[in-house]
């Protein structure tokens, strides 16, 4: 029995003696799993933060239209003193509030796209390698090994600096150094599942390979992948900020990382141009990690406590 599988009804009946007798009549689908998930305080908080972040990314530009990189005021206005610039302005006089709003867009876009691309690519490659075995698996494993051998961030820096730094290159670069972890994980899980009896059963009743892979095995490893995805989003946001720190961000878009990059020279005298976007990164990544943990507890039947 896993936490996921226990229906409150069954649990209630189980308080009584005779617990050993399984009464399937009590079983029912746990349709409200999602809501129960949100009852965990940390999961609820993380979800709320992320939902708020995504909402901000969507409506932010409506709230504060215009280009966030426009110089709209005096430089280095402190936060919370001038309501035209609630979070103050940076060294050039750009509004930090609109920067943060638009930055949510870039950071989340980068994070989500990287997770999406590396998940799609990694799952496809890893699943096919794990399921097909043989020389395909051999080739893919070597490929993954190569990516494991090159320090990822170095590859990323090489890639982004030789191409034009832009949101697209950053996303491609990050996806390039993230897919291998997904592929390795997927491959291992697929190999683990493909000899399980439910897969053999499907095979013996004539279900075709792709159907087994995508219809039977993938749904079972989805929880692991979802958790991985949340971690990739978080680490992509961090890596994007590190790139911006090295001056390799997209110069035409305000991202949290690039705001830190341009504000950090003044960090000793003016904390807010760096700390404000930095705080947004930390809170977002934190929320993503909390969410990942909570999902892990929720989706992974073996975890506990």
């Amino acid at each position: 029995m896993t936490p996921l599988e226990i229906d409150p009804n069954i649990a209630r009946r189980y308080r009584e003696p005779g617990a050993g007798v399984f009464d399937p009549a009590l079983g029912s689908r746990n349709r409200w799993g999602g809501i129960r998930f949100l009852k965990t305080p940390s999961a609820a908080l993380a979800t709320a933060i992320l939902a708020f972040g995504i909402l901000t990314a969507i409506v932010g530009p409506i709230l504060r239209p215009g280009d966030p990189l426009r110089i709209t005021g005096e430089p280095l206005i402190q936060p919370f003193v001038d309501w035209a610039h609630p979070l103050g302005t940076d060294v050039l006089g750009r509004d930090l509030f609109s920067g943060v709003l638009f930055g949510a867009r870039v950071s989340l876009l980068v994070g989500l796209s990287v997770a999406f691309i590396s998940l799609v690519v990694g799952v496809l490659i890893g699943a096919i390698a794990g399921y097909a075995g043989g020389w395909i698996d051999w080739v893919v494993t070597r490929g993954i090994e190569i990516f494991q051998t090159i320090p990822g961030f170095v590859l990323l820096v090489v890639l982004v600096s030789v191409l034009e730094p832009s949101a697209t290159t950053v996303i491609i670069g990050l996806a390039l150094i993230s897919w291998d972890a997904v592929a390795r994980l997927t491959r291992a899980e697929v190999i683990n599942h493909r000899s399980r009896e439910y897969v053999l059963a499907a095979e013996t009743s004539g279900v075709s390979g792709p159907r087994i892979l995508f219809g039977e095995i993938l749904p079972n490893i989805a929880p692991t992948l979802i958790v991985t995805a949340s971690i990739i989003v978080a680490s992509a946001i961090l890596a994007e900020s590190a790139l911006s720190f090295l001056g390799l961000g997209d110069p035409n878009a305000a991202s949290w990382g690039s705001m830190i990059g341009s504000g950090r020279e003044q960090i000793r005298s003016y904390w807010f141009p760096t700390v404000i976007p930095g705080a947004f990164i930390v809170v977002t990544v934190f929320a993503l990690n909390v969410l990942g943990d909570a999902l892990n507890d929720f989706l992974n039947p073996r975890s506990n406590g």
Partner: protein
């Protein structure tokens, strides 16, 4: 065996244990009382989940944190339910030893076994490393391990299951405990080794004069190896009786049901004429239980007569290799329509591999599988698939063989879709009728596997095998993960289906009694070869190996 009329060594009275954790919240043991005299051997018997292990663990206070224990566990006058943790540490391993079911996991994989045995000695005695090693070697000899000098430095994974279980036993008796708790010490072992382990425990009991609490769900085993048996259901005692009276004097309906469902090797019932007793337990609205014993009869419909023209399923000189190992080495047999062939043999003898080769999960190296004279091994792709439809398979583990993410409807529907049945209504109808066949309500279709009990899951697996209307069904240990009472239901169901639908089975099992009940013919396998065949083995086995198997199972 004599009853000792001395003071009991252990007295459990009115034990109530409830779990409060993420896994479950509820009562596992509900007012259990029993006692063991010094040197006595007592059995706790009951179905899976009835609270046997919980009781055993509670004696050594090995239960997880969020568990509440009420009642008393008096061991030599001390109440273990309330003893302090340091007192318990002195008792564990010293006065009470314990042996668990699964020898694969009870040893720490990263330490040498000798070290692990020595750990008990060093913990409780002040002895030098040399002495500890000497004592360990001695213990290894006591548990009758060969080549002790090598084994003492082996890692657990380098030993066989039986050897590991001996290590665990050596660890448990290292300090000559007064009580040995053995929680299903042989269920995970091969039949041939099972007997040796039980003999060992019994010998040690006599030699060390220690009491044994043996936990099992195997009634024949209990009746042979213990003095007294306590039958438990839902955490309560149903029956307490002398073991040798178990099969004769059971008072409680539930005990009688268990006995009726148990098969013994000397029992010459056959599924063609008989059905096993089924005990059904229902819960009243007031929470109490109602036990009912049913002895179903075989259906009146006569056995369909096999047409002589049809050969059925033939396997010819089959050879299967994994990497470099030969798992099946020139096996040939024939299953005529409407017959059941049983395969027995020790673990690793290649039983499953034969079934897998027939159904196409592994590619045989040579040899032929043919169906009604048509060679399946020649085909590939769609042609093969259309023939293979006629053969289906049921797996051992009903928990693992159903995809936990799909509903029953989807599991069954997927098979039909994959086999090109595109008419939705037809699929619906077939799903309904196959659920009917296996005795599940139609409402089962909408649920997920985890909402069913083990027996019900195995019914779903059978429904999945039947939905393509096969002629041959390969059953690879379909009941070995199930309780006796549930096993009886499944065996009855298979027998009924054979008669109703004219199915033929290949039935693999390590339980010889079950094979004797269900199969018309039998083959014995060893190291990938057939060593003996024909029903004469039940009465007059001709090979040493078959004799040993029978003796071990008896």
């Amino acid at each position: 065996m004599t009853r000792h009329m001395t003071e009991p060594l252990l007295t459990v009275s009115d034990l109530r244990i409830s779990y409060r954790n993420a896994l479950r919240t509820g009562i596992a043991v509900d007012g259990l009382s029993f006692s063991i005299a010094p040197g006595e051997s007592l059995a706790l018997v009951g179905e899976s989940g009835c609270g046997k292990s919980t009781t055993a663990l509670s004696i050594l206070r090995l239960l997880p944190g969020e568990t509440e224990i009420e009642g008393s566990i008096l061991f030599e006058g001390k109440n273990l339910a309330t003893a302090s943790e340091s007192e318990m540490e002195k008792i564990r391993g010293n006065d009470i030893g314990i042996v668990f079911q699964e020898p694969q996991t009870t040893l720490n994989p990263v330490y040498r076994v000798g070290w692990q045995i020595g750990e008990v000695l060093r913990r409780h005695l002040k002895i030098s490393a040399r002495e500890a090693r000497e004592r360990t070697l001695e213990l290894l000899r006591i548990v009758a391990l060969p080549d002790v000098e090598r084994i003492i430095d082996a890692f657990p994974h380098e030993l066989s299951g039986g050897q590991r279980q001996r290590i665990v036993i050596a660890m448990a008796i290292a300090l000559k405990p007064k009580l040995l708790v053995a929680d299903e010490p042989t269920t995970a072992l091969d039949v041939s080794i099972r007997r040796q382990i039980l003999e060992l425990i019994d010998r040690l009991r006599r030699e060390l004069n220690m009491a044994v609490l043996l936990i099992s769900h195997d009634l024949p085993l209990v009746s042979q190896w213990t003095d007294r048996a306590v039958v438990i259901h839902h955490g309560q005692v149903m029956d307490t009786l002398a073991s040798r009276d178990l099969f004769r004097n059971a008072k409680h309906t539930y005990t009688q049901g268990l006995i009726g469902a148990s098969l013994r090797l000397d029992d010459d019932r056959s599924c063609n004429q008989h059905r096993l007793a089924e005990v059904s337990v229902t819960r009243q609205s007031d929470g109490s239980f109602n036990y009912e014993l049913r002895r179903p009869n075989p259906p009146a419909t006569p056995l369909p007569v096999a047409e002589p023209r049809q050969h059925g399923l033939a396997v010819n000189d089959l050879v299967v290799r994994y990497d470099r190992r030969t798992a099946v080495d020139g096996v040939s047999f024939n299953i005529p329509k409407g017959r059941t062939l049983g395969i027995v043999g020790e673990s690793g003898s290649g039983k499953s591999t034969v079934a897998r080769a027939i159904i196409g999960l592994v590619r045989p190296e040579s040899g032929a599988v043919s169906l009604d004279g048509v060679r399946l091994t020649r085909f590939s792709g769609t042609a093969l698939r259309s023939h293979r439809k006629r053969i289906q398979m049921i797996f051992q583990d009903p928990f693992a063989s159903l995809n936990p993410r799909h509903t029953v409807q989807r599991i069954l529907d997927g098979v039909l879709v994959a086999n090109g049945i595109s008419d939705r209504l037809e699929r619906q109808g077939r799903i309904a009728s196959s659920l009917d066949h296996v005795g599940l309500p139609q409402t089962a279709a909408g649920r997920h596997p985890h909402e069913f009990s083990g027996g019900q899951r195995q019914r779903i697996a059978i429904a999945r095998a039947l939905i393509l209307r096969p002629e041959f069904v390969l059953c690879d240990e379909p009941t070995s993960a199930l309780d006796v009472s549930v096993q009886a239901q499944i065996l009855n169901l298979l027998a009924d289906l054979k008669q109703e639908l004219g199915l033929s089975y290949l039935f693999i099992s390590h339980d010889l009694a079950v094979v004797r009940f269900i199969a018309d013919d039998v083959i014995v396998m060893r190291n990938g070869r057939i060593v003996e065949q024909g029903s004469s083995i039940w009465t007059a086995p001709s090979t040493e190996y078959a004799r040993a198997l029978l003796a071990a199972a008896a």
